[in-house]
Amino acid sequence: MNITESVVSNPIQLDKSRLKRTKSGKIKVKVLRRSQVVTNITLVSLVILTIYGFLSFNYKNINFLEAVNNTITNVRTMFLDSALNHFTLSESLYQILITMGLAFLTTVIGGVISLILGLFAAKNLTNEKVSNVIKGFVAFIRAVPTILWVLIFAVAAGLGSVAAVIGMTFHTVGYLIKAFSESIEELDEGVIEALKASGASWWQIVFQAILPSTATYLLAWTFLRFEINFTNAVAMGAAAGAGGIGFELFMASGFYFDVREVGFITYLILAVAVLLEILSTRIKNRYLY
């Protein structure tokens, strides 16, 4: 008897307490929740910061319309009339290959280091302390822009492929350890427990349970990173003298002022980047979600 009564009477009571009224007695249709308040504050502050940003930039009295017009003319020449003037097509393809090589070496070295450290960063394989130390260190590595790592290593190793690969590896390791350890942490706790109960050693757990069941995730993440590293390698060629197509781009733009060549090089980079993106999207849709 009591139960039915409470069921019948409760919803009405609940509703009354939930209804909020305005001063004139109307029922409020929209009730602000914390998430909505934070959403609004975020949007408003982004708008204010953007406006402030535009006001604070040092435009150096640039003639905006003229610059835009020039850019449009340049872009048109660049992409409709692109040509190679300082080197041949086969040389430029070779430069693309060098950039790919920098990205590949970085990804392989970074992948191996991340695999080992990623195991120690996963909470279900080690204790909380070790995991937090590694993750904190890795967050620091990720916060420093890749170009700065490369330039820092360039002091010890000299400008060139060694500094570029080691510098980019740092950032790759920062990214992959986070991805790897999170993939491993998502693994079903029962599998590890079952192996532990049967007396398996730590290495047996890693090789018999962890690696077989997460291998596809780890490989997919590694390939995603290869895609990012290709773009990075182009940037390091331009900004840190690492060679490859990025360096040619920098020379064509900054030294020869050759718009047509910049256009051609951009086409080459675009073609490789689109190809890598299509591949990595396929891999991502198939293995990561």
């Binding site: 150096k60 640039i62 170009i147 690969v165 900004a239 900054g254």
Partner: protein, 261 residues
């Protein structure tokens, strides 16, 4: 049978390993990468960092100028991200399966976004440098284009995931296109969209350092100036300032994400 399976797997593993090793040797050869020098350079660099790469009292004098450059970089990344986000939202609405107007516009907007994001930010900076010169706007537009391309792609994915049922429900009630977009699509995907915006602001702080080195603006310029004049104490101060900025932005965006998602 089982033994054969293991044998097959082992053979596959061997083939893959051989291919990877061959590629490593080939690429190390053409990029002139010296593996031994690579590994020995890490301890050498760490030793060098402990000996030279820390801020001292003299470099603290440079702090006000570094902070004003850093300010420029932060605002560059915020304003390029938000403005690119607005444009990306329009393109994403055209491009998404649930809110597209027709297939033609959808393919066009996806294609444009793909071009913009796949031309690296360095290439954009080099292209814009011709007519904008060493100006904050060079960096702004370079970041704007790449951010626009990237955000259009992830916004399309977000809209596709978040709002199909509510769009269907509103269509059944006879709502107009704009009513559907503003009452269903945007409200239901807004938290995810904001989360992507915050992620991109964080990424753009790092990218704008790179762009700054090339275009002579912001904190990237400050770093390359001190670096080239071998004033490593001041350069290390720049790195510390960037790291702290990224951490603060990460903490704020993690808080916002926790509350709104």
């Amino acid at each position: 049978m089982e033994i054969d399976l293991f044998k097959k797997r082992r053979r596959q593993m061997t083939i893959v390993t051989v291919i990877i090793v061959a590629l490593i040797i080939f690429f190390a050869e053409i990029t002139k990468y010296d593996a031994i020098k690579g590994f020995t350079s890490i301890p050498a660099a760490i030793r060098w960092m402990f000996a030279n790469f820390y801020p001292n009292a003299k470099s603290l004098d440079k702090l006000p100028s570094i902070l004003s450059k850093l300010n420029e970089t932060i605002f560059l990344s915020i304003s390029s991200t938000t403005t690119a986000g607005v444009l990306a939202l329009v393109f994403a609405l055209f491009g998404s399966r649930t809110t597209k107007i027709n297939n033609f516009l959808s393919s066009i907007s996806r294609f444009i976004a793909s071009i913009f994001r796949n031309i690296p930010v360095v290439a954009w900076a080099m292209i814009l440098l011709f007519s904008f010169g060493q100006n904050a706007l060079t960096g702004y537009f370079a970041l704007f284009f790449v951010t626009f391309g990237f955000l259009t792609r992830v916004f399309i994915e977000t809209i596709d995931e978040a709002s199909y049922e509510s769009v269907e429900a509103l269509q059944a009630t006879g709502a107009t296109y704009f009513q559907i977009v503003f009452q269903a699509v945007i409200p239901s995907s807004l938290p995810q969209l904001i989360s992507w915006l915050l992620y991109m602001i964080e990424t753009n702080i790092r990218s704008s350092t790179l762009v700054g080195i090339l275009t002579g603006t912001g904190v990237g310029f400050a770093f390359s100036l001190y670096y080239k004049s071998m004033n490593y104490n001041a350069a290390s101060l720049v790195v510390i300032a960037i790291v702290l900025t990224v951490f603060v932005i990460e903490i704020i965006s993690n808080y916002v994400r926790r509350v709104i998602l």
